[in-house]
């Protein structure tokens, strides 16, 4: 069974919000109607977003590190928001595991948003229906688009390739490999929701360099070295034969 999902690499996310704006642009122009923006240029702006980038400071100053954390619907394999929906507007697709809302069936009771521990669902203030990330379901199957563009808008826009998209049930997919090889993890695993989206942790790449790796002990090119080498009894080593 296919389970499409995003894998977000926190090691390379720089918090530029390109995914946020790209997501909003694509989805507000889609067939489902615009995503509301109230008071965009005035006091107290508010609006619907499928994707938000949050920032967290970890540690105590001066030993701190900033983690930029993009958050959207995680397309859980056990989505708690689906069974609580009284109308069946909220559903998980069998064929690709995407959790969607049927905007024509949603009565806007907000019950599904109570049942999501991640706060991934937002009620659209204008259309009065619950909205959430669709994994750009209107993009990824669009045969009018070139094949390499059949990806969610956020993935397309990420300048650091922090967002990967693919089938996490396919062992040989890039996303599965990334999860496997880079200790990919799920959010709030304690609730048993089994999010399909995974995050890759910050990774420290350390390289140990010894002094003799920077400076060759017996440098045959140096003048001093040559003199020493030519002194009786301290001739050149076999290694230096060629440059002797």
């Amino acid at each position: 069974m296919t389970q499409l999902a995003l894998v977000i690499d926190l090691n390379v996310c720089v918090g530029c919000h390109a995914c946020v704006t790209s997501c909003k642009e694509w989805n507000t122009s889609g067939p489902a109607g615009s995503m509301v923006d109230k008071n965009p240029y005035k006091e107290d702006p508010t609006g619907t977003f499928f994707n938000r980038v949050q920032s967290f400071e970890i540690g105590t100053y001066p030993q701190t590190e900033t983690v930029h954390f993009p958050k959207s619907c995680l397309h859980c394999e056990e989505p708690p928001c689906v069974p609580v929906c009284p109308t069946g507007a909220s559903y998980k697709r069998e064929e690709d595991g995407i959790v969607l809302v049927d905007y024509d069936k949603c009565i806007g009771c907000k019950y599904c948003s109570w049942a999501c521990p991640y706060g991934a669902r937002e009620l659209d203030e204008k259309q009065k229906v619950m909205k959430k990330c669709t994994l750009c379901v209107d993009r990824i199957y669009d045969e009018d688009l070139p094949e390499n563009e059949r990806k969610p808008a956020c993935v397309m826009s990420c300048p650091t390739s922090a967002r990967l998209f693919g089938d996490v049930h396919d062992e040989s997919s890039d996303v599965s490999k990334a999860i496997r090889e880079n200790a990919g993890y799920q959010l709030m695993p304690e609730w048993g929701t089994k999010p399909a989206n995974h995050y890759l942790p910050r990774r420290k790449v350390k390289m140990t360099i010894h002094k003799d790796e920077l400076e060759r002990v017996d440098n045959p090119l140096s003048k001093e070295e040559r003199k020493t080498h030519n002194a009786p009894g301290t001739g050149p080593s076999l290694d230096d034969m060629t440059s002797w």
């Binding site: 107290d44 949050q54 970890i58 900033t66 069974p83 937002e122 959010l187």
Partner: protein, 326 residues
């Protein structure tokens, strides 16, 4: 959570209506089985049923204000196999219908015994309809409580105490309404109802305090470490992704100071439980209908405060992601 008045009115009004019906039917059983003197006011059950159905109708009406698309509300009966909300949507009209039929049977005087029990008590249509209505009323209590009780992320609600408290507070307030109604109509059942109302109010208070104690000891299952998956004891949010508010900052926060919430707790304990108990105790000695009617009003205000606190008290794990605007 953000307390929505539509849901506060829905749950308190239908709770009182359900309790009122249970009170009517308890009174009928006690008189029919000759545990109480014969009732001289057959209208009492009719008027009581009208009030119960009316309260449920107002509650149902209030609930529509919670919906973004009330015109699609009919769809919400579809997923009764998985959703407690859907089950409530079925149970509420069922209870209204059953209580209506119960009242109608009394109105048309369907009291000819259909068959006789071994003890000599006649079983008539009102009794059978009342039994059916009791089943629907309890089903509705369970559905309403489980809507909140089944969400495991809201640890304050995820407890059998939620269903128990909805049932007990509904029953208690319904018996207080029955006391006031029977005092106003000067039936023989006033003292009987007052005694039961005192009993249920005390039991409801005990269980509400139990849930207050339970909730004060809750250890949140999620913290920032599991929320973003960074295992460090010192994590602080510095931006939540937008400079203004969002659905996430409105729906899950009560937006009041901790002192306001704490005061609301004392207010509901006083108004929903202590004050009605005092008033009911006072009314035991008199035949005045004023005291029980005041008790109904005071307790209802208290129950609104209780339900407000019930929502405000619940802490949603998504709030971990929304602690700092920027």
């Amino acid at each position: 959570m953000h307390p929505a008045f539509s849901v506060i009115f829905l749950t308190t009004l239908i709770g009182a209506a359900q309790g009122l019906f249970l009170a009517l039917f308890t009174g009928q059983i006690f008189t029919q089985f000759k545990l109480m003197p014969e009732q001289q006011h057959p209208d009492f059950y009719v008027i009581g049923s009208i009030i119960a159905v009316g309260l449920m109708a107002i509650g149902l009406f209030a609930s529509f204000f919670h919906l973004g698309h009330p015109e699609r509300a009919w769809r919400s009966a579809a997923k009764w196999k998985t959703s407690w909300l859907s089950r409530e949507v079925i149970a509420l009209p069922a209870a209204m219908g059953a209580v209506f039929l119960y009242g109608a049977a009394h109105y048309f005087g369907l009291t000819t015994p259909l068959f006789t029990m071994p003890g000599g008590t006649g079983i008539d249509a009102t009794l059978l309809l009342g039994l059916a209505a009791t089943v629907t009323v309890y089903a509705l209590f369970i559905c309403t409580g489980m809507i909140y009780g089944c969400i495991k992320f809201l640890q304050e609600w995820h407890s059998p105490l939620t269903v128990v408290n909805f049932t007990l507070m509904g029953t208690a307030s319904g018996f207080v309404v029955a006391t006031a109604l029977s005092a106003y109509m000067q039936t023989e059942l006033t003292q009987f109802y007052a005694a039961w109302a005192i009993f249920f109010t005390v039991v409801a208070l005990v269980f509400r305090i139990l849930s207050l104690v339970r909730n004060s000891k809750i250890k949140p299952k999620s913290d920032l470490r599991s929320a973003i998956g960074v295992n460090h004891p010192n994590i602080k949010q510095i931006a939540q992704g937008s400079m203004g508010g969002s659905f996430n900052t409105r729906e899950y926060f009560h937006g009041k100071k901790a002192s306001f919430v704490r005061n609301m707790k004392y207010i509901f304990l006083a108004l929903a439980f202590i004050a009605p108990l005092v008033l009911l105790a006072l009314s035991l000695g008199t035949s005045s209908w004023v005291i029980p009617v005041v008790a109904v009003g005071v307790q209802y205000l208290g129950l609104i405060a209780e339900r407000w606190y019930f929502f405000a008290d619940a802490n949603h794990p998504q709030n971990l992601y929304y602690q700092q605007i920027s």
